[in-house]
């Protein structure tokens, strides 16, 4: 499903050139749950953003379902992104001016769904996330865990093929963190591909394998449970 060949990302400022990613070649199959780990500044998030088509590589190829993303312009990438990809962020990134329902509904608006279909799908997801009773509340009125459940719901509502999660538990206490991880695992069991960046070795183990990055290089892959693939 996802294949990268010698991905490279350089950040160039006036004085220095920083290599954020160097020769990353990896492959992720449909239905896989992959964790990415590494110390701060090793390039985890950069990789995730490139895979999520929010950013483009400086060199190398990125094939998503066989299509070369690095040759697409922003408009094409945006179109591909909204159909196939959902995001979960560490800091939730819910829109303060929208209610829980409206936040989750937002991706469907960009997909151009009918109001009825939107209503059905949003309510469905909110039930799954067990947050339907809070549908009319604003993000500020929710706890951190509840906010992240809304954010996960928002990522899921467009029924993406893959979810990229950037430290989804980073702002949560352990109880809420566990809850989010159980949610992601159950989604994966239903067939959604998940790529997750995390600091926590414990949460990384929820994935089928863990990719370790150090200074922009892949330094190893742990396969937690080969049978899961």
């Amino acid at each position: 499903m996802i294949k990268t060949i010698n991905l490279k990302k350089l950040y160039i400022t006036e004085e220095i050139e920083t290599t954020a990613l160097n020769n990353i070649s990896l492959e992720i199959q449909q239905g896989e749950f992959v964790s990415i780990m590494g110390p701060s500044g090793c390039g985890k998030s950069t990789l995730l953003n490139i895979l999520g088509m929010l950013d483009s590589p400086s060199a190398g190829a990125y094939l998503f379902e066989g299509e070369d993303i690095s040759r697409m312009n922003e408009r094409q990438r945006a179109a591909l992104r909204k159909k196939n990809i959902g995001f979960v962020f560490q800091s939730f990134n819910l829109i303060d001016e929208l209610t829980v329902f409206e936040n989750v509904e937002l991706p469907l608006l960009y997909l151009g769904l009918s109001p009825r279909e939107r209503q059905e799908r949003v309510e469905d997801i909110l039930k799954q996330m067990e947050i339907i009773h809070r549908r009319k509340h604003y993000p500020q009125q929710l706890s951190g865990g509840q906010q992240q459940r809304v954010a996960v719901g928002r990522a899921l509502v467009s029924q993406p093929k893959v979810i990229f999660a950037d430290e989804p538990t980073g702002n949560l206490d352990s109880a809420h963190g566990d809850e989010v991880m159980r949610l992601l695992t159950s989604l994966n069991k239903k067939g959604t591909t998940i790529v997750m960046v995390t600091h926590s070795p414990m949460y990384a183990e929820y994935g089928h394998r863990t990719i370790h990055l150090f200074d922009g290089q892949m330094v190893g892959v742990n396969v937690q449970d080969a049978l899961k693939i």
Binding site: E74, K83, S91, N93, L98, L106
Partner: protein, 816 residues
């Protein structure tokens, strides 16, 4: 999707009330200003466009040239023979024409009631056809075709008779003639250069003035003369015939009168010219002497349009500034929308839509403002503008266009700027918007706002100082406590008795009757001929304007002589063979000095005389004009105004006494009076008005600019909350913080000063070029305006800075 945009926009507006208020209020003020100004401009541009075929309708005017080719006088009215001769010579060009002459201070008597009418015009029959006058009563074809007919406007008919059903009734004119009412017409439109009250038939004048007057008098330039050309003929066709026409007809007239043709060999068209102006252009483009009414000025239209544009720009800049300054708050939303697949176009459209929403709200508010301000604005500009927002299609469409224009102008930059956010950088870090490029752009915008505001303030100051200069300058004559009474033939004939009667009161110092008084235009002049040593007669090459008056003129106005003597009853020949001229005239004659002028002989019009005195130069006309050569002639028969020099003590009693005497002399003529200083002030109404307009709009500009600055300062303080907290923990005092936050803005205002000064200086120096007597621009004004702007800005900014500075640092640090 639209619903979602609207929801977000509205919730943002509600959440940030202060911000919304500043934005909407600023825009509404700007839009209201523009609506008012556009109403005014529209009205001014509409003048005289309602006549049928108005593009074929022209007015003829006449100018006179000095020997050097300079125009010495340009009158809006011409001599009576000109129109019939033109129509006779060029029947293929001129279709119709009409002459009209104004009669002022006419006594109209119905039964035992007398009305004074200032707007009686004797008009040829074709006048009503040419101007498309709409008759309510009477026959348009014939109403003015017979002698002694009168046509009243509806308003006058209502005033005099209380009804319009008055055909066939008679009105007595000045106790001389009985005139029959043959028509009642609609009032002339307000937007007409020519607003008549009563029209009399032209033929009534023939017995009064004599038939030959209309054929041969080329010197009585009192006739408003309009022509309508045949369809589709350009005015230039007639215009280019004028020189040959004048040469032919003036030569013929001179021969017929047995006068010699100009011995200097100048052709008639080299000493006077005819001009043709489209009637629709008169209101904004004609500023001649003897205009039928005070006209507007196209310069003011441009000026107003520019001011309207700038005020709107300032309001739009507020919007842009606040929207981009607030961008940090919207950044996450924009990032998420992009992550979810929104393109840059989607986001830009969303923000343009928000701008449209805010502009629409502002426009609705501005409608309320305009409704509230219109009566006041009307009294300010002296018009009766009305506005029907929803029934007048022009206004409705105009308003919608204005909304779209403002929404685009104000919203395009924020939309462009915000939609360019990279979702990544927003969502990962806490983006510090307001740094780098945008902050620079915002600074430029603030500088622009204050440049405009300061320039307007300076203009206001310069205009005000020039007006003060007009009002306080020593004019060389006494203008305080001089009472002016209208004269008439009857009173002029008994002027000495009337004057003696007034002099009985101890508060009356002196009384004089005259044709012209200081503040009048010097329109009259006759030809000058000097006989040189060899006995040859030489015509002078300059215009010597004449002021005719009685014995006591110099005393009444406190005029001074610099050589010779004044007119005196001890010299009976003074009223037939003596001249007094002013110093400028002495120079124009080329005489060595004022003393040398005494005893010089020349012929002025029909009068042969000797110079007996030289009057000190003084400003007879308004200070727009230089002092012209003037000759003062004693002529007791030419009295049109009485000037009464009074002590000013117990004014009511003096006025009662004068009214009493007035009544005993003229009976039914109502007692009206003005004061000379008031007449003099009225000469500068245009400048006073201009000063007020600058004042009004500069204050508005400053208010709107400060609204923006206030908002911007609030956001600057908010963005630096953490920095302020840390600085305070490190020991910064409140004063330090206020200084830190305020200094940046003050720098911008200082820069705006540097930009505004040369612009204002240039514009005002050109404006002052209009006046023969002008102030030199005072640098203190520039410093003052700059300082005022700085002070206002400081006050605006420091409030926000102070609020930020007194906040508890612990709170602000925990906040991040």
């Amino acid at each position: 999707m639209f619903g979602n945009y609207l929801k977000v926009a509205l919730r943002n507006l509600i959440k940030n009330k202060a911000y919304s208020l500043i934005n909407i209020l600023g825009l509404a003020l700007g839009i209201a200003c523009v609506i008012l100004i556009l109403l005014y401009v529209r009205d001014e541009l509409s003048y005289d466009r309602f006549q049928p075929d108005n593009e074929q309708l022209y007015r003829i005017s006449r100018s006179w040239l000095n020997e050097d080719g300079q125009t010495s006088l340009h009158l809006a009215r011409v001599a009576p023979p000109i129109l019939p001769l033109l129509m006779q010579d060029y029947p293929n060009i001129i279709d119709k024409g009409a002459r009209v002459i104004q009669d002022r201070e006419v006594r109209l008597k119905i039964g035992d009631r007398t009305f004074i009418e200032d707007r009686l015009f004797w008009a040829e029959n074709s006048f009503s056809d040419i101007f498309g006058i709409k008759f309510i009563q009477g026959d348009p074809q014939t109403a003015l075709s017979e002698p002694n007919c009168l046509v009243l406007t509806q308003a006058i008919a209502q005033k005099i008779f209380g009804s319009a059903d008055i055909l066939g009734k008679t009105i007595n004119y000045n106790g001389e003639l009985d005139l029959k009412i043959t028509g009642v017409v609609q009032d002339p439109p307000v937007n007409s250069h020519f607003r008549y009250g009563v029209l009399g038939s032209f033929k009534s004048l023939i017995p009064m003035l004599g038939e030959s007057y209309f054929r041969t008098n080329w010197g009585s330039n009192n006739f408003l003369t309009y022509v309508k050309l045949h369809p589709n003929l350009p005015g230039s066709l007639l215009r280019e015939r004028f020189p040959e026409f004048l040469d032919k007809q003036l030569t013929a007239a001179a021969i017929a009168a047995g006068r010699e043709i100009d011995p200097s060999g100048r052709k008639p068209h080299q000493s006077n010219l005819l001009h043709l102006m489209p009637v629709a252009d008169i209101h904004l483009h004609s500023h001649l002497n003897s205009e039928v009414s005070a006209n507007g000025d196209i310069t003011n239209i441009y000026l107003f349009a520019i001011i309207a544009f700038f005020i709107l720009l300032i309001a739009c800049i507020n919007f842009m500034n606040l929207a981009t300054a607030r961008s940090a708050k919207r950044a996450r939303e924009i990032g998420m929308r992009k992550v979810m697949g929104a393109t840059r176009g989607n986001v830009a459209l969303q923000f343009l839509g928000e701008s449209l929403l805010i502009t629409t709200m502002a426009a609705l508010l501005s409608i309320a403002m305009v409704e509230m301000l219109l009566p006041w604005f009307n009294s300010f500009i002296g018009k009766e503008l009305r506005i029907a927002f929803f029934s007048d299609p022009v206004i409705l469409v105009g308003l919608l266009l204005l909304i779209v224009l403002v929404a685009l102008l104000a919203g395009s930059y924020p939309a462009f700027f915000l939609s360019g956010f990279r979702p990544l950088s927003i969502l990962k870090q806490n983006t510090r918007t307001g740094s780098g490029g945008t902050a620079l752009f915002r600074r430029i915008l603030v500088v622009m706002q204050f440049t405009v505001s300061i320039a307007l303030l300076i203009c206001m100051g310069v205009v005000y100082q020039q007006v003060r200069f007009f009002q306080t300058r020593d004019l060389g004559f006494r203008k305080e406590n001089v009472l002016l009474l209208p004269g008439n033939e009857d009173l002029a004939a008994r002027s000495e008795a009337f004057k003696n009667a007034l002099m009985e009161h101890p508060a009356v110092n002196s009384v004089s009757g005259a044709r012209l008084i200081p503040s009048d235009n010097l329109l009259n002049s006759w030809g000058v001929q000097i006989t040189d040593e060899k006995g040859e007669r030489i015509r002078t090459g300059f215009r010597l304007a004449v002021v005719e008056h009685d014995w006591d003129y110099f005393r009444t106005f406190g005029l001074k002589l610099v050589a010779g003597r004044g007119y005196s009853r001890d010299h009976p020949a003074d009223d037939s063979a003596s001249f007094i001229i002013n110093e400028t005239a002495v120079r124009a004659f080329g005489w060595a000095g004022n003393r040398e002028a005494i005893g010089k002989k020349f012929q002025y019009g029909p009068r042969h005389g000797t110079v007996i005195g030289v009057a000190a130069d003084f400003n007879f006309e308004s200070l727009h004009n230089k002092v012209d050569p003037i000759i003062f002639l004693l002529n007791q028969e030419a009295i049109q105004t009485f000037a009464v020099n009074i002590s000013g003590q117990d004014l009511p009693a003096t006025l009662r006494f004068i009214e009493d005497k007035w009544g005993s002399f003229v009976g039914d003529f109502p007692f009206t009076y003005t004061f000379l200083d008031q007449e003099w002030n009225d000469l500068y109404l245009a400048e006073i008005k201009l000063g007020e307009i600058f004042g009004l709009f500069s204050v508005l500009a400053v208010i709107i600019a400060c609204l923006g600055l206030f908002g911007l300062a609030a956001f600057a303080a908010e963005q630096r909350t953490k920095e302020i907290g840390i600085r305070k923990v490190m020991g910064a005092s409140i004063g330090d913080i206020v200084k830190m936050l305020s200094v940046e803005f003050l720098g911008l205002v200082l820069l705006a000063n540097v930009l505004a000064w040369p612009v204002a200086w240039y514009v005002m120096d050109r404006w002052l070029g209009n006046f023969a007597y002008r102030i030199s621009i005072n640098p203190v004004l520039f410093v003052g305006a700059g300082f005022a702007a700085l002070l206002i800005a400081l006050f605006t900014v420091s409030y926000q800075s102070y609020r930020a500075a007194i906040a508890n640092p612990v709170v602000s640090l925990r906040y991040e």
